[in-house]
């Protein structure tokens, strides 16, 4: 076997992952963007986005996945997502209330509508996407640490 097969799974899995991972990511983004119009939203979309990175990790091994999204970056995006969400909530004070939907609501069932709700969904997707990925990484790394000690 050549060197590129040393890490991760077999060639079949790698090829399929290479073809589908972009679509999975795109589908996650779609779910996030249409959170205020159709079932789904920040949490569901965020999980799907995280799954695309986890897929890379499963198929290619952790080094390749960390090249796309390192642990520090995951931790940073998680915090940024939470701060964005809180920031949107605090901006509601400009209209007098915490969490006030202060933006123009627009026309119902159009992509650009519902005021702050799409923005909240995006913030949640950062938080959840990075968070689920970080949880998966934590489980992987803990396992490797235990193996090293034995």
């Amino acid at each position: 076997m050549s060197r590129e097969h040393d890490k991760g799974m077999s060639l079949i899995v790698k090829t399929i992952t290479r073809l589908t991972v972009g679509l999975i990511l795109l589908y996650g983004v779609y779910i996030v963007m249409h959170g205020h119009l159709s079932p789904g939203g920040g949490f569901a979309g965020g999980v799907i986005i995280a799954l695309s990175f986890i897929n890379i990790m499963l198929a290619y091994g952790k080094e390749d996945a960390f090249k796309k999204l390192s642990r520090a970056a995951a931790s940073m995006w998680e915090s940024i997502g939470a701060i964005m969400f809180l920031g949107i909530a605090l901006l509601g004070f400009t209209g007098g209330y915490f969490f006030l939907n202060f933006l123009n609501k627009g026309e119902p069932f159009k992509l650009f509508s519902a005021g702050i709700i799409p923005l909240c969904n995006i913030a949640i997707s950062f938080k959840v996407g990075a968070g689920v990925f970080a949880i998966f990484v934590a489980l992987i790394l803990l396992k490797i640490d235990v193996e090293k000690k034995e």
């Binding site: 520090a72 931790s75 940073m76 915090s79 940024i80 939470a82 701060i83 809180l86 909530a89 605090l90 509601g92 004070f93 209209g95 007098g96 209330y97 915490f98 969490f99 006030l100 939907n101």
Partner: protein
Amino acid sequence: MTASSIIPLFVAIPLAGAFITPLIGKKVKWAPDVIGNSLTFVLAVLSIFSVMMVSSSGTIVYSVGGWMPPVGIAMVLDGLTSFMLVTVNLLAFIIAVFSVNYMEKFTSKAKFYCLFLLMLAGMNGVLISGDMFNLFVFLEIASVASYALVAFGTERYELEAAFKYAIMGTVGSLFVLLGIVFLYSYTSTLNMADMAQVLMQKGGGNIVLMVSALFIMGFGLKAALVPFHAWLPDAHPSAPAPISAMLSGVLIKSLGVYALCRIFFNVIGMTADISSILMFLGALSMVVGVFLAIGQWDFKRLLAYHSISQIGYVVLGIGLGTPLGIFGGLFHLFNHSVFKSLLFLDSGAVEYSAGTRDLKKMGGLAEKMPVTGTTSLIASMSIAGVPPFNGFWSKLIIIIALVQAGRHGYAFWAVVASVLTLASFAKVMKYAFFDKLKEQLKQIKEVPIFMKLSMSALALICLFGGLLLVGAVKIDFLDKATDVLLEGTKYAAIVFKGIG
């Protein structure tokens, strides 16, 4: 922006701090300390301000997002809430000061303050929430943060304790969630005030009995009442000392006792049956806790068992339901959070300097560590109910209330538990601080300045806590909180009047 805009800040400020700390804490070494301490200081000031707001304008209801309750989510600031907010945030600030030096020996301060502030956000959220489901969400935020904090040392026994705590805590949360689900299906609303009104109109049925049982199990587990206490003696000693102080001092009270009182007094409505169940559980915890404590040789484990016992006093007083009983219970809640936090901080100081928690390996520490020794003595006298320290007054009030209500049996057990507490702390003081100095402890030094500062501050509150019983402070701080529980299900009408 009106004055009521500070209500959501009790959640927003610690939440913002919790997520900013890991972002910049890794690069800037001093940032976590500064953020943690300044934010908790701001919260403590805001909480004192909230007491003044309640005394000037009564119950204030905040509609999140401008949606009016009962449709929208409500945040309610009344006497009981502001009383608990002061207890939680003041203690959090003093404990954050203690952590500046103490947490040096752990590697990651940024993570510590992140979890600490997250737990604080959860507790404040539970206190200000006027919505049943939000209460559950914040309860989970605080609980999950505390599971992680118990495991902070990541040694074998700490992980075991955290795992046990997480499992039992989750079961407790599940009972609470199930209770909320049943109530929601029965009343079709989640707003507490609205729920109380619907329950009054529809009357209680078997479902309310079922829900009461679920809540007593769920919140009783969070409050560590005796049949549900098994997680506490493992979890509290395993956490780092500031967190033990936080868990024993305020977490079991805001998640357990406060939520129990709020729901039983203001939403479901107190009945004679629930009152006698609460009193029985309280008395049982009081006596069993102290009997288990007296044989312990691990300093922190002994303190943890005493937390169970003292929570018993609080629940016994509040469960009695008379004005004086509730007053005494709430006053003891405040006092216990002060002296138990102080005792845990002292145990942390001893561990910091002498490197042990075993009472048999200590001895004569008062000579080498005068501040720790003195503050421990004050806190021990307070918890044992020796005049003139604060614990004496609140225990006295609870016992007087029991005698007035004709519950002489419970009053007797309250006195017995108090005497046993004194015996147990006499043992602590003798073995840890007043005995002959051991050879291997000759080299130890007193703890650094910030730890001394925070311990002294708490000792002063212990010493002058009795002054809360006189003058305007009593009326604004304690009486207002008692009134909230006494008004019972009239809470609903008061909250609806306060919407604005």
